[in-house]
């Protein structure tokens, strides 16, 4: 978020900075072009003076009756005009007819090697820069051809290039700017750094060979240079500006722009940072509320933190409403079904009660024939099943049953049914919930074991006692029923009776086992049934426990 916001800020800063730099470059370029035009015209005017002198000399040569007027004019000009180093009057073959200043010791008479540019559009012809045969110094010449008079066909002025270079000096805007005049081979005719002329330097930037602009690095400095033709000549003027200095002129403006840009970027960055934090917080709150809705709190209001979230809020709220309505419908359906199931359990229980009643009636007849016990035990078994159904329809949860309460009731009923109020009863039932398919076998097993204990677990020399425990330990449900009877003596019916057979069979059905053993002192019987505890069988709750006797 911060980066994605910072990038536009930085980009904007760069755009502003670059725009300003570009406008500066345009400004500098425009001023340099204008300056270059002015300089080239100044040089043109300066050379124009020399050209005018050439014209005067040409007239002097043609008007006089001998060479004296020309000699006098040449003498005057060389002495008066610092920019003229030498004036030569040559014949048609380039041989010297008259030279000022006169150099008696000089052997140079043939100037046929002096080369001038080929263009004929100018009255004045311009040479390239080359070494003077007189002194070996870099020179340049202006010439004018005249109708041959007194053997003279061409007047040539040798320029004082040091003087011409000096002329350029005050035309610079800043002291470290440079101005140069180039011939058509890009050799320096004049330069504000006179060494470049003396050492016969060339401008090697090809862009400056024509009217143009170049940026290049030389001798550790980056230069901006503009080239412009000098009107009426084959020469060019080049203005060089030290780029660093050129921009330094605008350093205040650049500094202000930089400060404004940086301030803007920092402010924008901080705003975005703060805004980013507030957006993060709002979205986190919104997420928490959406999570609450997903957990089922469909009524949680979900106001959109931003307009862009309206659609999402509407969707979530609409979804929550739909789910809520569907859940209400389902709940109603479940309630109806639970009611129905409860009714079924109730009816099963009633039917079992009717069966018990019928069996009880039948037992009265069978008792006389000695078969009452079997009926009684069957009745007990059915009662235990009925009790489960009764417990089920009285409780809220129809899937499973807390067997501790049921077991306690069943034990009480059996003790009461067998008229064994003399038995010292100890019950310890921890809260254990069993599903229906385990609860009924468990109830019958409990019924069989307790019935067995009540029937056989007494002896005359001891106080009858019955201890029933049930709980979950290490993932196993464990039911133990102990009595203080004669124990598992030979011939005792409790190993092979129907009750135990049923208990054993149902233990196996619960994937468990039934173990019988004697009490610690050799008396009594301990029946222990163990079977795997269903998931979440043990649950927190109060244990039903008789106080110790």
């Amino acid at each position: 978020m911060i980066l994605s916001a910072a990038i536009p800020c930085i980009a904007l800063g760069l755009v502003i900075g670059l725009s300003f730099r570009l406008s500066l470059v345009r400004e500098i370029d425009a001023s340099a072009r204008s300056l270059n035009t002015a300089i080239s015209q100044s040089v043109h005017r300066n050379l124009g003076i020399t050209e005018e002198h050439l014209r005067v000399l040409a007239e002097s040569a043609s008007e006089g009756s001998n060479l004296e007027p020309l000699r006098t004019a040449m003498d005057l000009m060389v002495n008066a005009q610092a920019e003229m180093k030498r004036i030569l009057a040559l014949d048609a073959d380039g041989r010297l007819v008259l030279g000022i200043p006169e150099e008696p010791g000089s052997v140079i008479r043939d100037f046929s090697g002096l080369r001038f540019e080929d263009r004929t559009e100018f009255d004045t012809r311009f040479s390239r820069a080359f070494l003077s045969p007189f002194d070996g110094q870099v020179s340049a010449y202006l010439a004018r051809d005249i109708p041959e008079t007194f053997g003279i066909a061409r007047i040539v002025i040798e320029l004082n290039l040091e003087e011409l270079s000096s002329f350029l000096m005050p035309l610079r805007i800043f002291g470290d700017d440079m101005i140069a005049i180039l011939d058509d081979t890009n050799r320096y005719i004049a330069h504000t750094v006179i060494r470049h002329v003396r050492e016969q330097g060339y401008e090697s930037e090809t862009a400056l060979a024509e009217t143009g602009h170049a940026r290049f690095r030389r001798d550790g400095t980056t230069w901006l240079a503009w080239s412009r033709a000098i009107p009426g000549t084959p020469w060019r003027v080049v203005y060089y500006r030290n780029e660093e200095r050129a921009f330094a002129v605008f350093k205040t403006e650049i500094l202000i722009t930089l400060l404004v840009t940086v301030s803007f970027a920092v402010a924008a960055f901080l705003s975005v940072f703060k805004l980013g934090g507030s957006i993060d917080r709002a979205i986190a709150l919104y997420s928490r509320k959406a999570e609450a809705v997903s957990r089922g709190n469909y009524g949680t209001p979900l106001p959109p933190p931003y307009r862009e979230f309206s659609g999402l809020s509407d969707s979530i709220e609409s979804m929550a409403r739909s789910v809520m309505e569907r859940e209400a419908t389902l709940r109603k359906t479940v309630e109806v079904r639970e009611q129905l199931l409860r009714e079924i359990h109730h009816r099963v229980k009633n039917n079992l009660q009717i069966i018990i009643s019928l069996l009880t009636l039948e037992r009265s007849g069978l008792a006389r024939s000695g078969q009452g016990d079997a009926f009684n035990r069957s009745v007990d078994r059915i009662r235990s099943m009925s009790l489960i159904h009764e417990t089920l329809y009285e409780q809220e949860n129809l899937d499973s049953i807390d067997v501790s309460e049921f077991a306690s009731t069943l034990v009480d009923q059996l003790v009461s049914a067998y008229g064994r109020t003399d038995v010292r009863l100890t019950r310890a039932f921890r809260p254990v919930r069993l599903p229906m398919d385990a609860a009924i076998p468990f109830g019958i097993i409990l019924n069989e074991l307790v019935t067995n204990a009540l029937k056989h677990g007494t002896r005359p020399d001891a106080v009858p006692a019955l201890e029933v425990r049930f709980g979950v330990e290490d993932g196993w449900c464990e039911l133990s029923v102990s009595d203080r009877g004669p124990g598992r003596k030979t011939g005792a019916p409790n190993d092979s009776g129907l009750g135990l057979s049923i208990a054993r069979a149902l233990s196996l059905q619960l994937e468990g086992s039934l173990a019988l053993s004697s009490g610690a002192d050799g008396f009594g019987t301990v029946a222990v049934v163990r079977f795997p505890a269903p998931a979440n069988a043990a649950f927190p709750g109060d244990a039903l426990e008789d106080p110790p006797a």
Partner: protein, 376 residues
């Protein structure tokens, strides 16, 4: 924090860009001691232009192993003292190798400093035999100057000349004396005679009229000038002003384009020698000539060509040093130059002997209509 976690590549790239920006390859600083002013400076100016042309092309190709070549120049004025001062100044400015010493006089001074400071000096045109057969830091890609005299003597004899006057430039005596000696030995062995050997003590202000008068008195069949273009043209002007027409022969030093400005038509028929022909029609020379003409507005002379070749030879040596991982200093560059096989040049190939000398053939030219025309 968010930036760090989510955008490590962007940060890494930025950091890398900064590091790379601050790690621009260090340029190879090449110094050039050249005579750039005075009447005999054409050889220095042309040499500089040829060197610049070569370095511009090398840098245009990405430099040497990625390092740009930077040229720094000092004007030695073509004198022994100037060569000494220029070489010292260039080394002090950080040059790891020197080019130049275009005249033997300037090379004499520069060579002293180069040997003292153990920096290689590769001269394009210093031809004096005084530098031959010495194991030092001086190298050159031009043959010995006495051979110039030999070639000129052969041509003089071929033309039937038997009497010669020889004029030596005292300012560059190491060179001119060798040309004169080579000429004299070959001329004598061919049946000729050197009637007189004269000297130009100092070209500027020298009394060429008196020299012309002396030459006239010698009655030679030809005058050989072992001097600069200014010397030879001034002699030609002086002889012409006396209407004394005599065949002129000049050594390679004088074969620079500025000679026409100095002498004009008085030089017509002058015979010159040179170890390079910039008008050679070979593709290599043609390409160089065109590039040079486009850059400098005029065709190259021999000094430009030799300057160009010297800079390229040096670049090969520097490349070999950098490739070998050796230190880029005088001993390293010297070893590389000596170990390089034959090197491509604009005129065939060249190689150094163990003293850093090379052999180049010399050609003959005649001035006709202000042009150097090669004599077959």
């Amino acid at each position: 924090m968010v930036l760090d976690r989510r955008h490590p590549p962007a940060l890494a790239a930025s950091a890398l860009a900064l590091v790379l920006a601050s790690c621009a390859p260090k340029p190879v600083l090449v110094g050039a001691t050249l005579g750039l002013s005075g009447p005999a400076s054409a050889i220095g100016v042309e040499g500089r232009n040829g060197i610049e042309q070569a370095i511009s092309e090398i840098n245009g190709r990405g430099g040497i192993r990625g390092r740009p070549v930077e040229l720094i120049v000092e004007n030695d004025g073509e004198t022994v003292e100037g060569g000494r001062a220029a070489a010292a100044a260039l080394i002090d400015r950080g040059a790891v190798v020197l080019l130049g010493g275009m005249t033997s006089a300037a090379a004499t001074g520069a060579r002293e400093v180069a040997n003292e400071r153990r920096v290689v000096l590769l001269s394009p045109t210093a031809a004096s035999p005084d530098f031959s057969g010495i194991d030092d830091y001086f190298f050159r890609i031009i043959g010995s100057s006495d051979q110039q005299g030999v070639v000129l003597a052969g041509e003089a004899l071929r033309r039937g000349y038997r009497r010669a006057s020889v004029v030596l430039d005292s300012a560059n005596l190491s060179y001119s004396k060798a040309v004169g000696s080579g000429f004299e030995a070959a001329f004598l062995s061919g049946g000729g005679t050197v009637v007189e050997t004269r000297s130009i003590e100092k070209p500027l202000g020298f009394d060429f009229s008196a020299l012309a008068d002396s030459l006239r008195r010698d009655r030679p069949d030809l005058v050989l000038c072992a001097g600069s273009s200014f010397d030879l043209a001034s002699i030609a002007q002086a002889l012409a002003s006396r209407e004394f027409r005599i065949p002129l022969f000049g050594s390679m030093w004088a074969r620079t384009p500025d000679i026409f400005g100095f002498g004009g038509r008085t030089l017509e028929g002058t015979v010159l020698t040179s170890g390079a022909d910039a008008n050679d029609p070979s593709p290599e020379v043609s390409r160089f000539r065109e590039a040079y003409s486009a850059r400098y507005g005029e065709p190259p002379g021999f000094a430009a060509l030799y300057g160009y070749e010297a800079a390229n030879v040096l670049a090969e040596a520097i490349r070999a040093v950098l490739d070998g991982g050796s230190r880029l200093d005088g001993p390293g560059i010297k070893a590389a130059l000596l170990s390089l096989p034959s090197l491509p040049s604009l005129h065939g190939t060249l190689s150094f002997d163990r003293f850093g000398d090379t052999f180049r053939p010399y050609y003959l030219f005649e001035i006709r209509g202000e042009a150097f025309v090669r004599i077959p």
